[in-house]
Symmetry: C2
């Protein structure tokens, strides 16, 4: 197994040198070809997918997991639409980031280049295979994919089609490497190939992320959990506060940018909480509150320390009344996951304090945390949301999949 | 030990929240105060340094190592000059990187922020302690230092003085954490504290870098070896070629941006090599050449595969005659360390081919690789040269010690 994996990644590395300077036109042709071939082979993909689903049912996987696994025409269309949208985006490679001249006449240009070889380790949803392949291709990166065992047949069917498209536009198939080994050990082998892979992006649950962090000698950008907060300040417009809080929780409770904890300034808690929590109750949200919240709104379970850390991704909400803005900030910096937080206030100074002191990727004033998303930000497609602080933070689009190099042009300069 | 280290890093983390929004004025005051106190306590530093040197001599360390360890008035002045220069540099924190508005009215601002807590693991030279402390402070990052056992007394003396300066300008001393444990295990403990430390920068030999890569669950930016190439194209101006090659090797052979391998196009090898290699011979450089080089210039040892990988940092040079530009590019991409490479040519197209195809941080046309340096680039101070491709590449100045966050200002926007 080890040898085979190494051989595949070596092929990807080799292909990366070709792809890194492929023209935008050729990359776009590949993306459009991929979309076309996926459409034409939809039946083949669905047949492979049926195998995965039968196996998942036999293994008695949860219905929610089986649903995420399933590929129907609508999901195949989403894949092909995605590839065509990426083809339409601006190519980040070659962009001049900065250019300056030194007193000795050297001209230094900082240009955007692909990262090289990216390893993506992901779980479940097989449509992710096409999404990632498309984003990496457009940004000039060769990619090695390692999907979960539950989707192996679907993934293989998709990868074979995408590789055929590469072949048809004369790009090496190695541009899209795929590790078929579904055993756990295969991931560990991959994570040691630091001479061949430049970056690892794990997409999946906490256990996967932990395994990757603990075993990788390659840089990792985490696409981690979101424990997002909305803080209702004493100077909040309570109408906005109610609408934004409700949206942050209910628009799509299962996503990483949904609100998990509501913080409320004590001065407005008695005015704000009864109506707000009634609304959540009516929407079947289970509420777990601090002692003060329970006093104000008795139909609430007591929150434990674990609740402040929790990413529920579900119809559960933790609620805490805080003494002041400072306590809100320190609560978020202590329990948050550095993802997205909002303050609702009409006081600009208090808003600035919040923006400055909190160490999270995205900080909102009077808006819903649900906007943390590559499309909502206007980045085009996104490969994920980084909760790392190194390299990329928040929504990651094509630009975040690049590095840079310095080109220095002289006419004989030597160093004194 | 484990508990103490964790306690120190927790204090640093806490201090990082204060430092992250400290004013430029206060940070500069701290830097200038540090310089002043180091000057005033020079005697104390030299006494501590004498202890380290006595111990190093008793342990029979190599004279070169002992020399790097020694602190005299000149080196102390370099430290204080460095701190004052960093004070004079522009503060990167708070800079607006980008700002745009979305159709729904949301205003998104991408602002530069400190990374948070940086762990630096380094060896030998105690003056590095002040350099790193200064750069991290100015960029708003709290830092945990872990220096080598050979410099422990010097490092402690310097750190105590720097912490006193922090105290005098009312910044928490935790801004500058220091791990006194000199045992190997202390490093491993540090590398597991991913909830407290945001970035690890190792500075030292290959063994240190490897230990860090293998044990860290925290992102690492490597300050790795430099196997730098100069390629003399068939269309080179041979005068420039000779001057640049000689400078790249001889200006300071022990540095990471010095040339280790000279590549020469076969069409000009017979014209170029005899005179060039005679010049290197006269300068006491040992030459290890490929078969063709040996044919042209017999007074050359045969180069082995190891020589193409070697970072000599010494008066040794590997020389290879290549068939064409393509072979030069592929040699560099195979054996290089992604640091700095130069092409000497008068043909712009061939220069562009070289710049585009080689995957290194800094690529030169008709100039010496010795220019890869924060000061030479005009970045002000540098914390090192990154051979990583993630986050920062090439010379790392203050800007490279920052991350960013998105501030999103709305007036009640919710997601549809």
């Amino acid at each position: 197994m080890e040898k085979t994996i190494k051989r595949i990644v070596e092929e990807t590395k080799k292909a990366s040198f070709v792809l890194s300077h492929a023209s935008t036109k050729k990359k776009n042709a590949a993306l459009n070809k991929m979309a076309g071939l996926l459409e034409r082979n939809a039946k083949l993909i669905k047949t492979a997918n049926q195998k995965d689903i039968r196996y998942a049912k036999a293994k008695k996987l949860a219905p929610a997991l089986i649903d995420r696994l399933a590929l129907n025409d609508k999901r195949i269309k989403a894949m092909t639409d995605g590839l065509r949208e990426v083809a339409a985006l601006k190519d980040p490679v070659g962009e001049v980031i900065k250019k300056w001249q030194r007193p000795n006449g050297l001209e230094i240009t900082k240009v955007r280049v692909p990262i090289g070889v990216i390893g993506v380790i992901y779980e479940s949803r097989p449509n992710v295979t096409a999404d990632i392949a498309g984003l990496c291709l457009k940004s000039g990166n060769a990619v090695v994919l390692r999907g979960g065992s539950e989707a192996i047949n679907s993934n293989l069917a998709i990868v074979n089609i995408l590789r055929q498209a590469l072949d048809e536009v004369s790009l090496p198939q190695g541009v899209l490497g795929f590790i078929e080994f579904t055993r756990h050990e295969a991931v560990k082998v991959l994570l040691k190939l630091n001479k061949l892979i430049d970056l690892i992006i794990p997409r999946g649950g906490e256990r996967l992320i932990r395994t990757v962090m603990e075993n990788s000698v390659i840089p990792v950008i985490k696409h981690d959990k979101g424990v997002c907060h909305t803080y209702i300040d004493k100077e909040a417009d309570l109408k906005k506060a109610e609408a934004i809080s409700f949206n942050a929780k209910m628009n799509r409770p299962g996503t990483c940018n949904a609100m998990e904890t509501l913080l409320v300034h004590q001065d407005i808690a008695e005015r704000f909480l009864p109506q707000m929590l009634t609304k959540f109750k009516d929407a079947k949200v289970e509420i777990r509150g601090c002692a003060k919240t329970q006093n104000i709104f008795p139909a609430v379970k007591p929150a434990s320390e674990d609740d402040w850390h929790a990413e529920y991704l579900d119809l559960i909400l933790a609620v805490k009344v805080v003494k002041n803005l400072n306590e809100a900030v320190s609560h978020i910096n202590t329990y948050g996951s550095r993802h997205s937080e909002a303050i609702i206030t009409e006081n600009e100074e208090r808003a600035e304090f919040f923006l400055e002191r909190i160490d999270s990727a995205c900080l909102y004033v009077n808006a819903s945390t649900r906007f943390t998303d590559g499309n909502q930000f206007g980045l085009g497609a996104e490969i994920g949301i980084s909760t790392s602080k190194i390299h990329a933070r928040g929504p990651m689009g094509l630009e975040e999949l690049t590095s840079y190099k310095y080109l220095i042009r002289g006419d004989g300069q030597v160093r004194e």
